[in-house]
């Protein structure tokens, strides 16, 4: 595996999100507030099975959970 973040179970987009969050946080205060608004995400999602909508979940926490799972999966294999 060529990339450390890939080994940690992150997708490229997640890696981008983390990197951009770090950049935004290191900005000066006045710029930072405007920039951090661009990084906000309040999506909710639901999985569908056989035409039925499942439970609504927060995307951010679900993404983190899925990636943590992927990481442990790769660690064990």
């Amino acid at each position: 595996m060529a990339f450390a973040w890939k080994a940690a179970g992150l997708t490229y987009n997640r890696y981008l999100a983390v990197a951009s969050r770090v950049v935004r946080r290191s900005l000066k205060d006045d710029k930072r507030i405007a920039a951090e608004r661009r990084g906000e995400m309040e999506l909710r999602f639901a999985k569908w099975e056989n035409g039925k909508q499942g439970e609504m979940k927060n995307v951010a926490s679900a993404n983190e959970a899925a990636m943590a799972e992927a990481a442990s999966h790769q660690g064990s294999s």
Binding site: L16, L43, R44, F45, W48, V59
Partner: protein, 303 residues
Amino acid sequence: MMLSRAARPALRAGAAAAARPAALNAPNAATYATLREIEDRLKSIRNIEKITKTMKIVASTKLTRAQKAMTESRSYGQTSNTVFEKAETKPLDGEGKKTLVVVCSSDKGLCGGIHSGLSRKVRRILAEKPDWDLVIVGEKCKAQLGRSSGKNIQLSFAGVGKDVPTFADASAIADQISLLPTDYASVQIIYNKFLNAQSYEAVDVEAFSEEAIAQSPNFAAFEIDDDVLSNLREYALANALYWALAEGHACEQSARRNAMDNASKNAGDMINKFQILFNRTRQAVITGELVEIITGAAASEEG
């Protein structure tokens, strides 16, 4: 959409009210009630007009921001597309593999037929390829497509369309899509293309799978390690989604502006009509009263 539904009963009632005074003028006591009825209806239409006017102004301001975000996001999407154009990437003929359709609508209504246009296009695609899977962004298309083809839906997202979509939104959606268990031959993103302030069109943009990229005829023009390819694919998907979301958002705002403009105009027409009706009825009532008084006076003089 909700407004037109709310306005229609009032229209029907308005037509009924226009027919009623003639019928009800004979028993004179009823005229007062109709007068008040007309007044009440006038008031409520005026309120609706106020609401739609305000919504139009809000949509106009949001539209300028949305358009700016759209032109910015367009360069993202187009740059990412140039890579595939140069590599001459074509969608794979998916043998046994499904294509995923991502529908980019939003949570809010009151903006004309913009969501149903998307739903119609998706239904047309599903009529040809009934086994393709759907991912739906936004409550409106979810409600429409959930009824007709709920079995195809894999994921649905809510919470978009409040503000200009961010790249964080797009990449989170892209992540969820790449986490889906099924391996898709390609991903089609359906969104409303912004033609001008008056018109939009439901179109699709393709995001390719790794094999499709790897098998593109001019792939050798780029130096890409195999490891990086999946990153490129994820990133391209997020780019395309961001583009689609931003453009769809701009379309929605412009459509809402137009819808609210029309609603305000209709409300203005109705106010005029009711004002005339109100004045006529008021005069009829006064004339009626005068006739009563004069006949009463004449009768008492005689007696």
